[in-house]
């Protein structure tokens, strides 16, 4: 029998740049195959970028529309009816008429946010020039709508009274004509805003969970160990996870913007979609590194879930995508700017998608995202080595 002894390899193979890139490429293909093999996950990705975005954009509006209002009409005059009729859609839901005794109940139960109370002899008092008052009761726990809604009601009541009187004697007109124009979103429709912000939220949520779970799955099944026996290094494993999961999220983002946001919701996108996707790629890299970092801190899926939820909520709600960043306390704002890439990306996304800003304008936030991403990646790699080698 021919006997040949296998040669012992001494050459440090698999360390050249080309070989490394090839490794990353192969591992990325593997990750993509793993993702494809889990239909439930893919279904959830599709859900997050379609139904999810659509329902948030069409349903939840912080703009003053659909305000739930009730009227207590104790005057029952032409003027009081006129005021009630002035509360029209889309700003208001059709006004419900209730009795004076029902005011507390309606507000307590949260059935309405505003109650407009028109006192007896209101029209007569107005015509006679006697001092009179319309009372507006506002549920001030409905914090997003209470302020603007009551301002609108105040204006409508004043306008209706003014035009009612205008027929009778020449009421003094305003000395100046203030024309307010909203740039980028002329009708201040909130679906323009929430749809895109929901896409941003979906990017964050999916990338963190997908990459973190991909790592925990490998750790729990022991396949990471097997990978490390082979001529691959931790950074290649990490990069491939970031690339594969990032790619899935990016493709879903692009499709969601074109099909759901532009198509289904008819939201115009002012700026360049390729520029946005390029920025999103940087952002995805950063949050994927965050996902890996969380995946090295948690040991089991149970722990990962508990760790990821608060992190996701903080990045989502304190990013300027839900509430104005300017109204956060300065210290907290500074902290979020330092540790979270999301406020930067939100400002980038608003710049590109709404204001149509170009790369020369929006590069600073993008650099910030990249720098934070670099730090995350370095920390994740360090932890990854430690956790996997158990040192």
């Amino acid at each position: 029998m021919g006997r040949e002894t296998r040669a012992v390899s001494k050459r440090p193979a698999g360390t050249g740049l080309a070989a490394r890139l090839a490794n990353v490429f192969r591992l990325t293909v593997k990750e993509l195959r793993s993702i494809r093999a889990d239909p439930i996950m893919l279904l959830l990705v599709v859900y997050a970028f379609t139904i999810n975005v659509y329902s948030v954009a069409t349903g939840a509006s912080v703009e003053a529309t659909n305000l739930a209002v009730a009227v207590v009409d104790e005057d029952r005059s032409a003027l009081s009816r006129r005021i009630a009729d002035g509360l029209t859609p889309p700003l208001f839901r059709p006004a419900v008429e209730i009795g004076a005794a029902e005011i507390d109940g309606a507000l307590d139960a949260g059935r309405v946010v505003f109650v407009v109370e028109i006192p007896p002899r209101f029209e007569a008092d107005v015509l006679a020039g006697r001092k009179t008052a319309v009372q507006v009761n506002v549920d001030a726990t409905a914090i997003t709508q209470a302020g603007n809604g009551s301002a609108y009601i105040r204006t409508i009541v004043a306008d209706q009274v003014a035009s009612f009187l205008a027929g009778r004697d020449g009421a003094a007109a305003s000395p100046v004509d203030v024309v307010v124009r909203a740039t980028f979103n002329p009708n201040l429709k909130s679906s323009w805003f929430t749809s895109v912000m929901q896409v941003v939220n979906s990017i964050t949520m999916l990338t963190v969970i997908l990459t973190g779970a991909a790592l925990i799955r490998e750790r729990e099944q022991g396949t990471v160990e097997h990978l490390l026996i082979m001529p691959v290094v931790p950074s290649e494993i990490m990069l491939s996870k970031i690339l594969a999961n990032g790619l899935v999220t990016l493709v879903a983002t692009g499709l969601s913007l074109v099909l759901v946001v532009q198509g289904g919701l008819a939201v115009p996108i002012a700026g360049s979609l390729p520029l946005f996707l390029a920025g999103a790629a940087v952002y995805v890299f950063t949050v994927a590194a965050l996902g890996i970092m969380l995946g090295t801190i948690a040991n089991t899926m149970g722990q990962f879930g508990l760790l990821a939820i608060p992190v996701l909520l903080v990045t989502q709600l304190l990013s300027g995508s839900a509430t104005p960043l300017e109204s956060m306390p300065a210290g907290l704002r500074w902290v979020m700017w330092t540790i979270s890439p999301t406020p930067h990306f939100v400002s980038f996304a608003q710049g590109v998608l709404y204001r149509g800003a170009g790369a020369t304008v929006v590069w600073p936030p993008l650099v910030a995202v990249a720098v934070i991403g670099g730090v995350y990646f370095a920390v994740a790699l360090r932890r990854f080595r430690r956790v996997v080698f158990g040192a």
């Binding site: 296998r6 726990t141 979103n185 082979m230 956060m328 800003a357």
Partner: protein, 916 residues
């Protein structure tokens, strides 16, 4: 029991997808005997046992056990108190964080035993198994043999009439294996009426049983006493007899293993040289100064009890684990943890299957070929060669998770040798593999060693494999006890078999878990528990609060032993509450504005002053051109620009109403809208001012007043509304994610088998597991409330009792939601993912946190109301801010209660008491 049959199978068939696990099996299993089911992997042994134990649903045919039809749910419930089932896998039905005592105690509670009875039984059982010195040790920290003994204790806790053991000794070392069977013998001597049904891959074990059923390809090929089977096949050993009974074409594939002599290699550098190799984990020394030399082309066997440091040593040699001390060289070069070049010389096969279950067999091979940088042209031929050589062609495009263990092991070996490494490190490569597949595996190992000079370093529990090695090393408790050829070692301990020598070495070293002979004799002939077994076992009740409590207690203990999870669950909400309480604010302030004054008259400046005087606005340098206006707004630098046209002052003086343009950044509509209302207010103020200037102070006396009364929150501060809403948000997300892994984790680890094999009802299981999470959620609620009152100054103005009761109902609903997700998902990943995605969006957007539910419309309203958060938010906000009591919020409480019950009913529907 009629006749002498404990169980009967009649025409039983079972399919998984297109694969037949059992094909028309008809078999009578004698009672009061030790019955073995033997056969290769994947022939349906486990399926058969699971059907007999009632944990798997019968597809076709009749299964009669203990005189009743196992398809009948009532019979299953009444008889499961008389059956005990121990599933395959080392300690798979144990709870690793629970101690030995707590594990057994849990089973006692499930069978409704009193505390005194449990104590006596546990004392008896642990003494009999030699576990009594370790009753306080967590099950996860026991060796494999001890885990199996503990599993046996759990199974015997209720004195079953039928004991079903699925491969109880696979992966267990020879000493522990011997002790395990001695234990079974002792117990059978005490309770001769008990029938024991065992599946095993060890033929030498099977030879000691009373009665055997041999299976192949889902069919029974022979049954009877071992002697009868040997006689029928005309063979002397059961292993050979089994092969002889196989269909002809299969028999032809088998060839005996012949170990050819080793030719010394030309290169004298040892393949592996270790000196003083040591590995510590904290205080624990896993490997203690181990030294050995392995020559080129040698087959070197590593033997030892479970947990003796074999795997750790192998991991150090592959560079996976850095050594704490000592030195190891491969082919004369020292091992470094990050040494990529060295890895090309090693092929490694880990103990557990560690290839990708989601890739096909071919894709797994392809991935490894590419990562080892095989030349492109060689990849396809090499994969084809390996598929042929390891008999994997038929399954090349299947995923490995559906394949039997033996085939998976062949795949792992194919992967390990793919890059033709001169050294193979194989950690228990044949554990759980049937005899035929094992022999085939060994033939390839011998070919590799003898024909290609590959050095093979492997660990095993099979003595016949150890005998085929050139040299073996015995390891115990981190130390090497002896090294030499199998013959030398056997001779050194009296010249008996290698197994006897092995046991002798271990006993001498004071093997952990060894049962001293005197302990066994100390077991009373009839322990307290056993006496009652003579009476028929009590029929379990349909619903037993004791079992529910047993599950609640166990889940709570597991939760308490996982402090990381507990800390996340309690601290997470506090951190979030602080971040959100301060961070989420809908107050619009600090709006950056600039003037674009093309008029520059005192009149225009007067108008602009009303803007700079407002507390909502911060002034920036003025804009001087339209282009600049566009640019600065595009950058997002300005939120508001006031443009005054040329001739404004003149027009104003002349009573012509001049136009003032105000530009608002509409990129964020909420902020834009608030800005617009601020501008409206300023314009009104300006108009009144002008009127006063022109007509004197009387003009301002308008007759109409619109009084706005901010109810519940006079100061109109975000925090008053946000804090109660955040509590609602926290109490849905955290508890739901916690409970989402509750059921699916048991599915993944295998402890769900206990639910299936015991009288536990679905509601007992679900509610029992839910209670600890409700308790954690309520604790979280308490901390959040204290935080709300003290730190944020948001007191509960309404009824505290109503708030507490509402919260309790809410927590039942939210944990119920998590459990529901847990029952229909298959992996923890999917459960966490699904809960997060399904819960975050409605909880954040449609529950009143950002938008009042009254103002939601369409699908969003439906989505919001279909989720408990939208119903709890009015209770939380109502009792905190609106001073409400029971009378106002009871309808929401009723809805929350309905949610909890509905989730429970849905979860009950999805949860399978029997596996499909």
């Amino acid at each position: 029991m009629t006749g002498d049959c404990v169980a009967r199978l009649d025409g039983v068939s079972h399919r998984y997808g297109t694969v037949d696990a059992l094909a028309d099996v008809t078999l009578d299993i004698p009672a009061g005997r030790m019955v073995g089911v033997i056969g290769p992997d994947g022939v349906g042994k486990s399926t058969l046992l699971a059907l007999l134990a009632g944990v798997r649903r019968i597809q076709s045919g009749t299964v009669t056990v203990l005189d009743g039809d196992m398809a009948d749910a009532v019979h299953r419930r009444t008889s499961c108190a008389r059956i005990a089932y121990m599933p395959q896998g080392l300690g798979r039905n144990l709870y690793p964080t629970l101690s030995v005592f707590e594990n057994v105690d849990f089973f006692g509670r499930l069978f409704g035993q009193s505390e005194a009875e449990r104590r006596t039984r546990i004392a008896d059982l642990t003494r009999a198994t030699g576990l009594d010195p370790f009753v306080g040790r967590p099950a996860g920290k026991l060796s494999g043999g001890m885990k199996q003994k503990l599993s046996l204790c759990c199974a015997l806790m209720h004195d079953p009439d039928l004991l079903v053991l699925d491969e109880p000794t696979t992966g267990v070392d020879p000493l522990s294996r011997r002790q395990f069977w001695e234990l079974i013998d002792t117990i059978r001597a005490r309770r001769p009426q008990m029938s024991v049904l065992v599946a095993t891959a060890y033929m030498e074990e099977a030879a000691r049983f009373d009665w055997l059923a041999a299976m192949d390809d889902g069919r029974e090929i022979a049954h009877g006493a071992p002697a009868e089977i040997l006689a029928r096949a005309d063979e002397t050993s059961l292993e050979r007899a089994f092969i002889a009974l196989l269909p002809a074409e299969k028999r032809a594939r088998h060839a005996p293993v012949v170990v050819r002599p080793r030719v010394a290699a030309a290169d004298e550098t040892p393949a592996i040289e270790a000196e003083g190799l040591t590995r510590r984990f904290g205080d624990f020394v896993a490997v203690d100064h181990v030294s050995f030399r392995i020559g080129r082309g040698e087959i070197f066997g590593f033997l030892g009890s479970n947990g003796c440091g074999k795997t750790t040593t192998m991991k150090m040699l592959t560079g996976l684990l850095p050594a704490s001390d000592g030195r190891a060289e491969l082919f004369g070069a020292p091992i470094g943890a990050g040494d990529v070049g060295l890895r090309r010389n090693v092929g490694y096969m880990s103990q557990a299957f560690s290839l990708y279950a989601e890739l096909t067999v071919r894709q797994n091979l392809d991935l490894h070929a590419r990562l080892y940088h095989l030349p492109r042209a060689e990849v396809a031929p090499r994969i084809a060669e390996l598929l042929a050589r390891y008999d994997l062609e038929a399954v090349a495009d299947q995923r490995p998770d559906a394949l039997p263990l033996g085939i998976k092991q062949r795949l792992q070996l194919a992967v390990a040798v793919l890059h033709r490494p001169p050294l193979l490190i194989l950690d228990e490569p044949t554990s759980g593999v049937d005899p035929i597949a094992r022999d085939a595996f060994w033939r390839t190992l011998i070919d590799l060693s003898r024909d290609e000079g590959v050095t093979i370093f492997l660990s095993t529990h099979f003595m016949n494999e150890a005998e085929r090695c050139d040299r073996i090393s015995l390891m115990h408790a981190g130390r090497v006890l002896a090294v030499g050829t199998p013959a030398e070692l056997a001779a050194a301990r009296g010249g008996g078999s290698l197994e006897e020598a092995f046991v002798a070495y271990l006993a001498e070293a004071g093997g952990v878990g060894a049962v001293p002979a005197e302990t066994e004799s100390a077991v009373p002939a009839t322990p307290a528990g056993v006496a009652s077994a003579e009476a028929p076992a009590a029929v379990p009740k349909r619903f037993d609060p004791g079992r529910l409590w047993a599950y609640a207690r166990r889940e709570a203990m597991e939760l308490l032993r996982d402090p990381i999870r507990l800390v996340f669950a309690l601290v997470g909400p506090i951190v979030l509450m602080m971040a959100f309480g301060w961070g989420i604010s809908f107050d619009v302030e600090n709006l950056k504005w600039a003037a674009f004054d093309q008029d520059r008259t005192p009149e225009s400046r007067a108008l602009l002053e009303s803007f700079s005087g407002s507390r909502y606005f911060t002034e920036r340098p003025p804009v001087s051109s339209t282009a600049e206006l566009d640019d600065r707004m595009r950058r997002g630098e300005l939120a508001l620009v006031v443009e005054i046209p040329p001739g404004f002052g003149r027009d104003l003086q002349n009573g012509r109403v001049p136009e003032v343009g105000v530009w608002i950044d509409g990129a964020m509509p909420f902020r834009g809208e608030t800005t617009r209302s601020y501008v409206g207010g300023l314009a009104l103020q300006y108009a009144q001012q002008r009127a006063i200037e022109r007509a004197g102070p009387n003009a301002s006396a308008s007759t109409l007043d619109v009084e706005v009364r901010y109810r519940y929150n006079q100061a109109f501060k975000s925090v008053v509304a946000m804090v109660p809403s955040i509590i609602a948000l926290m109490l849905i997300l955290i508890p739901a994610v916690m409970s989402a892994v509750a059921v699916v984790r048991e599915k993944e680890t295998g402890s769900i088998a206990n639910f299936r094999a015991t009288p536990t009802g679905k509601v007992e299981f679900l509610v029992g597991k839910q209670l600890p999470y409700v308790a954690v959620a309520m604790a979280s609620f308490a901390t959040l409330m204290i935080l709300a009152v003290t730190l944020f100054g948001v007191p509960v103005t309404g009824s505290f009792a109503a708030l507490a009761l509402g919260t309790l109902l809410y927590c039942f609903a939210t944990t119920g939601f998590g459990q529901l997700v847990s029952t229909f998902t298959r992996t923890q990943v999917a459960a966490v993912f699904a809960t997060a995605i399904l819960a975050v969006v409605p909880a954040v957007n449609f529950s009143g946190l950002l938008v009042p539910v009254a103002s939601l419309s369409g699908g969003a309203r439906v989505l919001g109301l279909a989720f408990p958060a939208a119903w709890y938010q009015p209770i939380s906000v109502g009792t905190f801010a609106k001073a409400l009591g029971f009378s106002a919020v009871w309808p929401q409480m009723v809805v929350l209660a309905v949610f909890s019950v509905a989730y429970l009913i849905a979860a009950r529907t999805f949860l399978q008491k029997q596996e499909r």
